[in-house]
Symmetry: C2
Subunit: 414 residues, 2 copies
C-alpha cells in the first residue's frame, strides 16, 4: 500500500539534479537587458584600456626634461600653447617649455610625457611656473595599464552585474552573448489551498507556496507561468502538468509528493514515463521532495509544507536553473558560524533550519518557529543552518555550517 521509496543523501540528490541540468542555447540580448544573465562566451579585450595615454588630473602636459632642475628658488616657466578637455585631441606638438592645458581623461599630446597638476602651478600671463622636476611618465595613465587588447577579461559563466555591464560597454558590446534562461511552469497543488480573494472556508489555508516560489523565480529573472488547479483530481492535475511540459523547460509543483491518498504526483510521474531521480532524501524538512526528468525537461516536486518547499527550491531548483542559464558557479556559499542559541532536536537526517545570520559577528540562530509547515521563519531568514544527519542537539557556541541565501542589510549606520 505504501509506495516503496529509496532514501538518498542530500549531496547525492543535488548531484543527480545537476547532472541532468543541460545548458540552454546561446542567445544575444541588448546590453541594457543583459543584467542577471550569464555570459555565454569569454569577453576578450578588443582594445587596450586605457586606449591611449591620458591625463588622470586637470593640469598641464609638458615634456619632463624641460622641468629639470626646477625648485623653489628656480621656478621653470612654461608657455601654454593649447587647451583641451577630455574627448579632444591637441594637434600641437610640444617643444621644450611649451605646455598644453589638459583636463582629466584627455589624451597626452605628442611631445609631452608628464602632467603637472593644477595645484602644482603658479599662473603667469602666458602660462605657468613650477618648482619641481617631473619624471617621464609622471601623472600619466598609460595606454594598456589596466588591460591589453586580447586579454581575457571575463569568463563565460560570469553573472552579468552592473560592473560587468560597465566592462561590456567599455568594449562596445551593444549585444551580449548569453545563455537563454529556462522558462518555468509553477503549479501549486493541494485541495486545502485557496487563492487570494477566495473565501477562507474551514479547513482551508492560503496558497503561500505559489507566490513565494514565483517571487524566488522573479528574483532570478526567470519567466514564470503560474497554472491554477481548479479540480481536485488526478486527471485534471495530469492534464495541467502535460500542458505545462509543452510550453516550459521546468515544471515546479508544490504539494502532492507524499504518500497520502490525494498525493497524485507519484502517479503523474509514472503516467508521463518521467525518470524519477529521487523521491526520498535524507533531509528535514522536505524528505519527500521529488525530482524527475522527462526528455530534457525537469520536474521539481516540492513539498507542500512552506519551509520544506522553500528549502527544496534553494537546494535543488535554484542551482539547476543557474546551471541551465550558464552559471559557472551555481551554489550558494556555505560558511562556518557560531550558533547563538541552543538547538536541542536530534537530527536523524541532515537538517536545514531557516536562520538569521549576523554576518558581522558571525553568529547564527534559527529564525523562529521552525517546523516543516512554518512560514514566518522563512521571511525572517537570510540563511539556512545545516546540521549533519546522525547528530544530537547543538548548543550555543557550537560552530555550524550556514548556507547564505541572501545578503541582508543589517546596519542602520555606516
Amino acid at each position: 500500500m505504501l509506495e516503496k521509496r529509496t532514501l538518498i543523501d542530500v549531496q547525492d540528490a543535488v548531484e543527480r539534479c545537476m547532472a541532468n541540468a543541460g545548458e540552454m542555447p546561446i542567445i544575444s540580448v541588448g546590453l541594457e537587458e543583459s543584467l542577471g544573465y550569464y555570459l555565454a562566451e569569454d569577453i576578450i579585450a578588443t582594445y587596450d584600456i586605457p586606449m591611449f595615454d591620458k591625463s588622470p588630473y586637470d593640469g598641464y602636459a609638458i615634456s619632463s626634461t624641460a622641468s629639470n632642475g626646477a625648485n623653489g628658488e628656480n621656478r621653470v616657466h612654461f608657455r601654454t600653447i593649447d587647451h583641451i578637455g577630455a574627448g579632444s585631441v591637441s594637434n600641437k606638438i610640444l617643444t621644450a617649455n611649451e605646455a598644453v592645458r589638459i583636463m582629466t581623461g584627455a589624451p597626452i599630446p605628442d611631445g609631452a610625457d608628464a602632467v603637472v597638476m593644477l595645484e602644482q602651478t603658479v599662473q603667469t600671463a602666458e602660462g605657468f611656473t613650477l618648482r619641481k622636476t617631473f619624471e617621464s611618465g609622471e601623472n600619466i595613465s598609460k595606454q594598456g595599464e589596466e588591460c591589453r587588447a586580447g586579454d581575457v577579461i571575463l569568463s563565460a559563466g560570469t553573472l552579468i552585474t552592473p560592473g560587468v555591464i560597465a566592462v561590456l560597454a567599455t568594449f562596445s558590446y551593444a549585444e551580449v552573448p548569453v545563455r537563454q534562461k529556462p522558462s518555468v511552469a509553477l503549479i501549486a497543488t493541494g485541495s486545502e489551498l485557496v487563492s487570494l480573494g477566495e473565501e477562507l472556508a474551514p479547513g482551508k489555508i492560503r496558497n503561500s507556496n505559489g507566490p513565494m516560489i514565483a517571487g524566488l523565480l522573479n528574483e532570478m529573472a526567470v519567466q514564470t507561468e503560474s497554472y491554477k488547479v481548479t479540480e481536485d483530481n488526478y486527471e485534471h492535475l495530469l492534464a495541467i502538468v502535460q500542458e505545462a511540459l509543452e510550453k516550459h523547460d521546468i515544471v515546479i509543483t508544490t504539494g502532492g509528493v507524499s504518500v497520502g491518498d490525494f498525493d497524485y504526483m507519484p502517479a503523474i510521474y509514472k503516467a508521463l514515463a518521467a525518470d524519477v531521480l529521487f523521491n526520498k532524501v535524507a533531509m528535514r524538512p522536505g524528505s519527500v521532495t521529488t525530482v524527475a526528468v522527462k526528455d530534457r525537461q525537469m520536474l521539481f516536486g516540492l513539498s507542500g509544507n512552506p519551509s520544506a518547499c522553500y528549502s527544496g527550491f534553494e537546494l535543488f531548483t535554484k542551482p539547476v536553473i543557474k546551471k541551465m542559464s550558464g552559471a559557472a558557479h551555481a551554489h550558494a556559499p556555505v560558511i562556518k558560524a557560531q550558533l547563538s542559541l541552543d538547538f536541542k532536536k536530534a537530527n536523524p537526517f541532515t537538517r536545514f533550519i531557516r536562520a538569521e545570520l549576523d554576518i558581522v559577528n558571525n553568529t547564527v540562530k534559527p529564525a523562529g518557529f521552525n517546523k516543516s509547515n512554518a512560514v514566518v521563519a522563512i521571511a525572517k531568514s537570510n540563511s539556512m543552518i545545516i546540521l549533519p544527519g546522525g547528530t544530537r542537539g547543538f548548543e550555543a557556541g557550537d560552530e555550524v555550517d550556514v548556507m547564505l541565501t541572501r545578503l541582508a542589510d543589517q546596519a542602520q549606520s555606516w
Copy 2:
C-alpha cells in the same frame, strides 16, 4: 582660480546624505508586484497560524485514551469511520476506538486528540491496529503554535523578499502597504563619452558609467530615466538637470564635479541654488563626489572615473534610495576579513578598493588593477576593502574591513 572646497570625513558625508533622505509616501501595491519594496506598516497576524489543529502526517486521527495499554502483544483495534484530505472537514465526532483517516494538513476531527502515522498501523478489514500508547496532542500541529492573531509578525521597514510574500499571502494580503520608491534621472556627462553605436573617435571612450549606474538602479527596481547630453556646454547641461528635477526625486550625474575647465556641475548647483552638502570627501577614489539638496530633491554628483563613480553610488546613493524607500536597515554589512595579498600603497584618505571576498575562507584581495579609472575590477568585485585614512600599506594576513556589496555564488558543488 581653484574653487575652495572643505574636506569632510566619509562618515560625516554619509550622515549628511542620510539626514536629507526623506521617506517617500505610502502606496499600496499588489502582492505579486511587491517584491523588493519595503513594508510601510507592521504586519500583524490576522489569525492564528496554524488556523486550526491539523495533522502534520498522513495517518489516522484517534482519541489517545483508546490507545492506552497497546503493545506488540496487545494491539488495539480501530474502526475507520471517515476519510478526509487536506482542505476537508470531517463532520463525524469520534468515540472510543473510532478513527478518521486523515491526510497531512487536514483539521483534527472533534473527539480526536492524536494522530497515528500510516507507518505505525497494520491495516484490517474495517480499519487498523496499533501497538503503542499515544499521548494527548501527539502528532498534532496545534492551532497558533507558530503565531497568534495579534502578534507583530514583520516590522515596517522590512524588505519584501519571497519569504515575506509567503507570510503576506498566508494572512490574505492581496494589496501591500509599501513606500513608493524614488524615481531617478541619470545623466552621464563628459565630452569624451560616446554611446554604443557611435564612432569611437580618437580621444573618446565609451560611456560605461551610464549603463553601470542604470544596472545598479535596475537591481533596486528603481524607475530610471537616462538623459542624453548632446552638447558640451554649461547651458545645455543646466537645462537637462532642470528638466530632470521637474520629473524625478533624485538626479544622478556622472562626471563634471571636479575643478577642470569643463566641469560644469559646481556652477549648476550654484545656479539651482541647491544646498551643497559636501563637495570634497576624505576618500580615494571619488574625493570630488558632490551631493546637493534642492528642496526635497537630491542631486548626486558622482565622479566620471568608473571606480570612483561605482564607490560613490554604493556609499552614498544606494543607502539614500533605500532610506527613501522605507528601509529600516539601509547600509551594507561591513565585516572583518584577512587580506590575502599585500597592498602597499599609503592611504592619506580612507581608501575603498573593489575587492574579491572569499566568504567561505574569509579572505579578501583587490579585484585587479585598482586605479580610480579602472573598470574591470568593478566587474570582478563582490565587496570593497576599506582602509582607514592615515595608514601605510597593508600586508597579506592583516585583518581589514570589508563592505559586502553582493552575495556571489562561489561554489561549483554543494
